[in-house]
């Protein structure tokens, strides 16, 4: 097992320490509470734990068992085998944060690659080494904007078409502070122009999503101009995989690009660990939270990499740090770097296009069914909303009986979207699967 000590080792070691029993080392612990009997299940062997875990895993129905059309912030994509082969290398998996660069060049150069790939993908100048997920990356954008304006602008306008978890997280972080998280009360069908009346001289940050929570894609150039005219910053939360096809937000004039990196080669894993992307312009780099790797040289004149601008971070600045973040998503950043390298320029474009075409095929087929219509009226990427003739929960139950994991029930969060289902289609979904979805949807409604 994992504790290598023999009885002889223990005796020798205690002798060196000058103690008689292991228990003697715990004299400082209040006697009344020392050595509690823990009511936990008894130990089992590795073989038995594998069996127990297989039993638990088998009690789930995975997206390998079901045909998945569920998205809403986490997407089922194919992950090339080489991604996990790299992740499983003990040299990456079991290394600590690269605070000692002389023996951590592997991790450091890999993060540098990640920063480069994200910068290129988003069209921004600087990427940090990751946050926890899309939601916390949004929250860090809020914190950065607040710091940027030194607390003089406190209004953060978060689009109603932003993932609800992202907004809820930002609200939790800022509750009780002088930051106000504003959710404009506008028609969900309205485009970004509807946000303009909410942007004024007190606005620090505007956050929109791309594609937005409902899958729609807008050109945010004029929004960026309006935000900048008001003196505020614009953050765009992205699905990075969509950027294989779509205009990068840097070209719109975004000041901050955040996003959920899960689609870039990270398994669904019931919601985590995922990857929080954070990129910005060079002017703002000192206000940015999170670790950052920079290029330099060593004493032997070789090109090498090191954590840099650490004076922003908690282990140096303590209460004056830009954020409390310490542990990040290093291994997930590596996964996405390997994924982006493998797919490269052509592969990422191809996967994004496959998602786009298949989603549009599915949308057209469903829209033609009696009783169903497309709620989404503007361009979308790989996710769209349909209005259904009966409650979404009933439809999903029927779909599940046919081995299909149906779309997200939007009526749960928004009364005005009752009977609306959001469907995600990726490169994994074949035409046969889409046709089966369409056929099964047609079965639940007879007018």
């Amino acid at each position: 097992m994992y504790i290598p000590h023999t009885e002889a080792d223990r005796e020798a070691m205690l002798h060196t320490i000058g103690a008689e029993h292991l228990e003697d080392l715990f004299q400082d612990v209040p006697a009344a509470y020392r050595f509690p009997k823990l009511d936990l299940p008894p130990a089992i062997t590795e073989m038995e734990v594998m069996m127990e875990m297989q039993r638990l895993a088998n009690a789930n129905e995975s997206v390998s068992d079901l045909i998945c059309f569920l998205g809403a912030g986490a997407y089922n994509h194919y992950i090339p085998a080489a991604v996990d082969a790299v992740l499983r290398r003990g040299e990456f998996l079991t290394a600590y944060t690269p605070y000692q660069p002389e023996i951590s060049q592997g991790t450091l150069q890999a993060i540098f690659e990640y920063q480069s790939l994200i910068a290129g993908l988003t069209g921004m100048e600087v990427s940090n080494a990751s946050h926890y997920d899309g939601a916390t990356a949004v929250t860090e954008a809020v914190t950065m904007a607040y710091a940027h304006f030194r607390g003089k602008r406190t209004k953060m306008v978060l689009s109603p078409a932003l993932h609800p978890h992202y907004r809820e997280t930002a609200e939790t972080y800022n509750h009780g502070t002088d930051v106000s998280i504003v959710k404009p009360d506008v028609d969900l069908k309205a485009g970004p122009d509807a946000l303009l009346p909410w942007i004024d001289a007190t606005t620090a940050l505007v956050v929109v999503q791309y594609p937005d929570f409902f899958g729609r894609i807008y050109n945010y150039t004029s929004l960026a101009e309006a935000v900048h005219a008001a003196g505020a910053l614009l953050a765009i939360a992205v699905n990075p995989l969509a950027l294989g096809l779509l205009t990068p937000p840097g070209e719109f004039g975004a000041d901050i690009v955040v996003g959920e990196g899960q689609p870039l080669g990270i398994s669904l894993s019931f919601g985590g660990p995922y990857l929080g992307i954070f990129a910005t312009r060079k002017d703002y780099v000192r206000k940015m939270a999170g670790r950052l790797v920079g290029e330099t040289v060593d004493t032997r004149g070789q090109r090498a990499y090191v954590l840099t601008l650490t004076a922003r971070e908690q282990h140096i600045r303590r209460e004056k740090a830009t954020s409390n973040i310490c542990t990040n998503q290093g291994l997930m950043a590596l996964a996405s770097a390997v994924y982006m390298s493998l797919l490269g320029k052509n592969g990422l474009r191809q996967v994004a296009e496959l998602c786009y075409h298949k989603a549009h095929y599915a949308a057209n087929q469903i829209a033609a069914l009696p009783g169903y219509s497309l709620w989404t009226e503007t361009p979308f990427f790989h996710e769209f909303v349909i209005r259904c003739p009966i409650p979404v929960a009933d439809i999903n139950e029927h779909l599940l009986e046919h081995g299909i994991l149906g779309g997200y029930d939007l009526g749960k969060d928004n009364p005005e979207l009752e009977n609306c289902m959001m469907i995600a289609v990726t490169e994994i979904n074949s035409k046969e699967e889409i046709d089966l979805l369409v056929e099964t949807l047609s079965e639940v409604y007879h007018d």
């Binding site: 823990l38 023996i103 993060i111 919601g271 004493t299 090191v306 840099t308």
Partner: protein, 498 residues
């Protein structure tokens, strides 16, 4: 060593992975939203695998050797954890699936909540926080919400000992509380007299790391907690050092009101070169309703024939969610696996041997390195990396020289209250032979420091790179490769994205 970057390896037309052609009719692409350039590399799978494998070989890691980083609990990461987390029934589950299709995940989360409650002596546990620092923030927000719910609005002051991790003050500042630093006394404990002066009706709480970052169990812990409670404050426990306490004492029994666990320290989930972590939070009974959520609970009782139905429930007065979805489930699978193979006796044995190893090293180290607080330690201890008779040598030089002996250095320059600190945490997974070899190296280095200091000042000598020019890195700020494809001369740093 200089490993070429991907942008330098890229060759136009090369592919790393193929996807099938579209089996549906093509839709027209959105004209004003289709990008013209995609600056990503063009490399083959062989290129990618070799590149990242070569990079990996430049790293030190637990799988290679001992990693005595104080406060980081770099224990061996069991291989079975990696297998269980990758079972398709865990790795391929969408977070928003109907609860009927994910009862295996729900049972695992529920059981892990129960186990962590039992291990720490708490009434409730939330698994949502992503890492230790987020667990801390969660805890502090819970404390603030508790006071506010009682309309006790004056409580804005949080006490943090000077030996605390940097995340403690950073977290408190984020939550809008006023940070007051508490000094340590001569024995490394919280200074009770100083504490007393702050125990008034503005006190929100105390963030206590116990054992503290000197590796010492707070001798007056019951008194400290009693004083804070009597003043109406709550006590937050920084669980970074839980590896000393499994089956030894339950923080909840001592009166600690909130504590975060680090699954990536105590419960063996891998650090991954910086993350992901997982920072579940345990709370006392009066705080259960304030936990972030949702948390897993039984939503339909079972009977003899039908098992109960588990689902997500939002605590009544929850501070809200702190991240997307439910937490780092993949880390929960690993931690659950770890707890199951240990059982209650095994967990106690983990902490006993972590403390045994630390005291064994300390007993030998203190013969050659100055030990500022000479008491029985818990799972870690701090010595000074300096000698009066070797005035040029600093902790940094010792740390760098250790690399030449194939060791990862201890945490250095932390805690801040010890000069030239070297903070050593061996963990329970290191054998006596490994520890003896470590001591031997530390003796050699002490000898070199006195007789051949230059070899320390210029160390490391055998690593892939030598000491780095950190000033250049911060001044010139080259933060990405320039990404020009096909590879040409690399662009200036400010042209990264163009």
């Amino acid at each position: 060593m200089t490993e070429s970057l991907l942008c330098e390896l890229s060759v136009p037309g090369r592919k790393g992975v193929l996807f099938p052609k579209s089996d549906v009719p093509k839709a027209s692409l959105p004209a004003n939203l289709t990008r013209q350039r995609l600056p990503l590399p063009e490399v083959s799978e062989v290129d990618v695998v070799r590149y990242f494998t070569r990079l990996s070989q430049l790293n030190y890691c637990i799988d290679k050797g001992m990693y005595p980083l104080g406060s980081c609990t770099m224990k061996y990461n069991p291989k079975i954890n990696e297998e269980t987390a990758r079972l398709s029934g865990f790795a391929n589950i969408h977070p928003l699936q109907p609860v009927e299709t994910i009862q295996g995940c729900m049972v695992l989360m529920y059981e892990l909540q129960e186990m962590l409650k039992e291990i720490g002596g708490f009434a409730g546990v939330t698994l949502q926080p992503a890492a230790g620092a987020q667990g801390e923030l969660t805890g502090v927000l819970i404390i603030r919400a508790y006071h506010q719910s009682r309309n006790d609005l004056k409580r804005t002051k949080i006490l943090i000992p000077d030996s605390a991790h940097g995340t403690n003050p950073a977290t408190s500042a984020m939550s809008g509380l006023e940070v007051v630093q508490l000094p340590s006394d001569a024995n490394g404990n919280v200074d009770l007299n100083e504490l007393r002066t702050h125990c008034d009706d503005t006190l929100a709480g105390l963030m206590l790391t116990n054992p503290n970052t000197l590796g010492l169990f707070e001798e007056n812990v019951l008194e400290v907690i009693r004083m804070v409670h009597e003043a109406g404050g709550l006590v937050y426990g920084d669980g970074a050092n839980m590896n000393a306490l499994l089956g030894i004492v339950r923080p909840g029994d001592l009166g600690i009101d909130v504590l975060h666990y680090n699954l990536h320290k105590t419960f063996s989930t891998p650090h991954g070169g910086g993350g992901p972590g997982s920072g579940p939070v345990g709370v006392a009974a009066m705080l259960v309703d304030f936990m972030p959520g949702p948390v897993v609970d039984i939503i339909e009782e079972g009977d003899d024939e039908i098992p109960p139905l588990f689902g997500f429930v939002m605590p009544e007065k929850s501070i809200g969610r702190v991240k997307s979805f439910w937490g780092h489930f993949g880390m929960m699978v690993r931690a659950y696996t770890y707890i199951r193979v240990h059982g209650p006796e095994g967990l106690r044995s983990v902490s006993e041997h972590a403390v045994l190893n630390a005291n064994y090293l300390m007993a030998q180290m203190k013969k050659i390195y100055h030990l500022p607080y000479d008491r029985t330690c818990m799972h870690e201890f701090v010595v000074e990396g300096r000698w009066d008779d070797a005035p040029d040598i600093h902790a940094l030089d010792i740390a760098k020289r250790m690399m030449d002996y194939n060791l990862h250095p201890p945490t250095n320059y932390f805690p801040l209250i010890v000069h030239e600190a070297l903070m050593v945490e061996p963990t329970e997974t290191e054998s006596k032979q490994t520890l003896d070899a470590f001591i031997e190296v530390m003796e050699k280095i002490a000898d070199e420091a006195h007789n051949n200091p230059e070899i320390l000042k210029t160390a490391p000598h055998t690593t892939p790179v030598g000491r780095l020019d950190e000033v250049k890195a911060a001044k010139e700020l080259v933060l990405c490769c320039g990404l020009e494809f096909p590879p040409r001369e690399r662009l200036l740093p400010d042209k990264c994205s163009t």
